[in-house]
Amino acid sequence: MSSGTAISRIDVRYLFLALLIVSAIPIMSPMGLPMVVSPLTKKSFNFIEGLPAGSVVILDAQHSTGYGPELGTQYAAVFKHLLARPLKVVLVAFGAEGPQLYAMTLEGSTISGPPIDPNRYGKKYGTDYVWLGYIPGTVTAFAAFASNSWLTKTDAAGTALEQLPIMQNCKTVKDWALVVSVSGGQFEQMIAQWYSAYKTPIIFGAPGVSAPRLYSYIDAGQLTGMLVSIGGAAEYELLLKGPALAVSLMDVLNLAQILVVVAMIAGNAIHFIGRSKEKK
């Protein structure tokens, strides 16, 4: 698998330049290339659509800024959907960067898209949604938060949970209708702590690296749904009828991935043409 001679004469930096140009075009002027919504994304969307009014949904920001828009857009898309429906949203973070990600999502950022204003959806803090902040401890925290959802005693701003009407309906895992966790890891542990132990439905927002191993949990019914990488977020934005950051980045990804395939084919072509010339 070593580099051939013909191909090594071509400077790989031209390729880098090509990638920059190909991906800069759709950023400057979005093209809106078509896409098909996958059944998996549709399944997650429909599950949330089907939740009865007043159901409590836990939304966990466990990812990190390092994943960039891959997971940031998923978090924003699901948050918007939950706000648009008559649901009670309890926001937590089992990852240390959660507070930063939550703030970025509300204010709008280059990894989560335009700002989200819960007031615009007619949602009131403390009644319809609440932000509990970062709960350290990963696996231990999953278990502890399930048996006692008042673990933090106050919300992130320091208000006692007794004073928040929404928390009266959310005391243990038995009150949860769904957990949505956008995360870069700890998937198996979450399934063990929440699904295996209490049969709570779970939807994951997962990066492309981790998704392949999670499909088997969906087949087994241990996982209700999953958004995969930025494509999952883009499809979700389409289902919400509000294309945002993920959809516009999909243009870039479309072109960039086709460029990679073209490079693969061209690399082979040049290699073999070069070799046949050398033989002559």
Partner: protein
């Protein structure tokens, strides 16, 4: 020989604690489970404080470089500054000191994320340089890669839905089979090497002197 005795002590510790970690997993006996958890916590502390060696190594190498006016002696100054100023601020205050946070969020994170994003370029150059259809092996690799890239590019799936089906089959069946075989192999290798370590038969990491063996 002091070094020899030290090695024996080290190997005894490895044997006892290693087997404790294994046995603990299979029994539920509170005092032993707690002991193992405490040892894991203690190991986290020890491994963290090993950073002292790291900071020492950086400081010594770059001080030496600066005093010799060696290559890169100006960046060496930047290295020392980047280690010691945050270190002093962080140790005297905390990680939440405003200057520390500012540097972390506005310089450290962007550099890290940009470094990570370099992978995007390398995915392209790797595909260009290394994916050859020279043999049957290479052909399988290239086909799988190309078909998955096309599956993940929605526009391809829009043009021909077959890309989605073939891609899904490769992910869920074809590569999953190979994945499983490799995982089992790695697990067996881990157990073997692990046992050699615990029994003191794998001591290369303790820089065992093997004489003139070639």
């Amino acid at each position: 020989m002091a070094r020899f005795q030290l090695r024996s002590v080290a190997l005894t510790i490895t044997f006892v604690l290693g087997f404790l970690m294994i046995v603990e997993y299979f029994i539920s006996f509170k005092s032993i489970n707690d002991l193992a958890a405490n040892i894991r916590d203690a190991a986290t502390v020890i491994i963290g404080l090993a950073s002292i060696v790291g900071v020492g190594n950086i400081t010594r190498n770059h001080l030496r470089n600066i005093s010799r006016r060696g290559d890169n002696w100006i960046p060496s100054i930047i290295m020392l500054v980047s280690v010691w100023i945050p270190l002093v601020i962080g140790l005297l205050g905390t990680q939440n000191h405003p200057i520390y946070r500012y540097v972390f969020v506005n310089l450290f994170n962007p550099v890290g994320n940009a470094f990570f994003a370099v992978l995007g370029f390398y995915i392209l150059s790797g595909a260009w340089r290394a994916f050859r259809v020279k043999s049957l092996d290479g052909t399988v690799m290239v086909l799988c890669a190309a078909l998955i890239f096309l599956k993940n590019a929605p526009v391809a799936g829009y043009l021909w839905s077959g890309f989605n089906d073939i891609g899904a089959w490769i992910m869920n069946v074809f590569q999953a089979a190979g994945y499983r075989g490799i995982i089992i192999g790695v697990a067996i290798g881990s157990i073997t090497t692990g046992l050699r370590i615990l029994l003191g038969r794998e001591t290369g990491y303790l820089a065992e002197r093997r004489g003139g063996q070639e």
